[in-house]
Amino acid sequence: MRGDELHELAAGYALGTLEGEDLARFEARLRGGDAEARRAVRQFEETLARVAAEGAEPPPPGVKAALMARVAAASPARQSDGARVVPLAGRPRRSVWTTVLAGAMAAGIAAIAVGLGISTRYERRLETLGQEAATLKAELERQAAVLAILRDPATQVVALNGLEPSPTARARMLWHEQAGGLLVAAGLPPAPAGKAYQLWAIAGKNAPVPAGVFKVDPGGTGSLRVAPLAGVGRVDVFAVTLEPEAGVPAPTGPMYLAGKSA
């Protein structure tokens, strides 16, 4: 290996920016006890410590007290300088076995404390990562479902027009029998307190089936993702009424939007 290449790898390693094969190769060298590689890393790490020292900044108050309290609370078995353990020989009449047992217990407790500290830290990290993964997955599934609806030729597209209370309102309903649908509405007045807009799906001469409630932003725009409706196949009419916030089983309020499928 050329000297330049060794130093390139050592610089990347010290900066934590080495990756893949370079990293594996260089770590193997360090593990193998390569004195030249170790020396190069050490020098670069010392260099970075000096770089850091140029930007030294007093820490905020409170951190030290919190740390000292944590140290005191988490490791009561640990002793500070002022309270050294009395050497065994100086102890009055105490069984060697008691001491050995106490020592073993203390070591066990310390090991458990350290283990707990480490596992708690990793559990926290795993939990955060897990939550992030779940959020991403849910978002991805939502988007995939919308895409599937858009792609399918069987998807109905229904335009809804504004009725008497808000003639300028408009909406588009995408509807797929198996996948459900998506409503996007614009130009609706914000729903009064305690009220929300409710979507209805009407097939033939059947009673309207509730398909979900939604609100609109101050600009009058709102959207609603609709899950597939049990017992509802092809829909002939979609309509939107103003109802109590929680939704109702059959329409009671004024109708704001309606559209008939082609």
Binding site: G12, T17, R42, A72
Partner: protein
């Protein structure tokens, strides 16, 4: 700049911490927390996040002081490397979270002023580095080292960000660090 302490002071305190000496831990915190905190602050702009990482780093010092090997380097370097790793971990997790929750609001992402950070002169000035050794490097060398050390990018990511070949980036980082090493007279450390 802080007066450098003899290397053995930090190493001696870490040895005390490894034995469970709380007084040594307190002295170590008093002497070296500004070193760690300055770096953490340069990596994480958010003061609350920086405070949290500082506490985690020193908690780790208390728990893992026994793993310190003086033959591998000074106590300061040991602390700095830990602080840097934890701060970059935090930075990455913040970035992941921001991407998860902010990405759907496309226009907000598009409006985020990312360009400012790409200007090395502004970035260095912003971090108070214009007068430092890092600030004395050539623009491209400093930029590559900053992206690695303070932004946590890999060499491939740096190459992509700067639109330069990977080999060029590797060379720049090496030359930059070698220049700093000479400036600080770190020889046979």
């Amino acid at each position: 700049m802080r007066e450098p302490q003899p290397a053995s002071v930090a190493a001696g305190l870490i040895a005390g911490i490894a034995r469970g000496d709380r007084a040594a831990f307190e002295r170590f915190y008093d002497a070296y927390s500004p070193l760690a905190f300055g770096l953490i602050r340069r990596i994480l702009r958010d003061p609350e996040a920086a405070k949290e990482v500082l506490q985690e780093v020193f908690w780790q010092v208390w728990q893992e002081a026994g793993a310190y090997d003086p033959s591998r380097g000074s106590g300061e370097a040991w602390l700095v490397m830990r602080a840097r790793t934890r701060a970059i971990d935090k930075l990455r997790s913040i970035r992941r979270r921001e991407q998860t929750f902010v990405a759907p609001a496309d226009e907000r992402v598009a409006a985020a002023p990312e360009t400012r950070r790409d200007d090395p002169a502004l970035a260095a000035e912003d971090r108070g580095l214009a007068e430092s050794a890092l600030g004395q490097l050539s623009g491209p060398q400093r930029q590559a080292i900053e992206l690695a050390f303070l932004e946590g990018l890999t060499q491939t990511e740096i190459a992509a960000r700067l639109g330069e070949p990977l080999g060029t980036v590797k060379t720049r980082i090496r030359l930059g660090l070698e220049r700093l090493r000479a400036a600080f007279k770190v020889d046979n450390a």
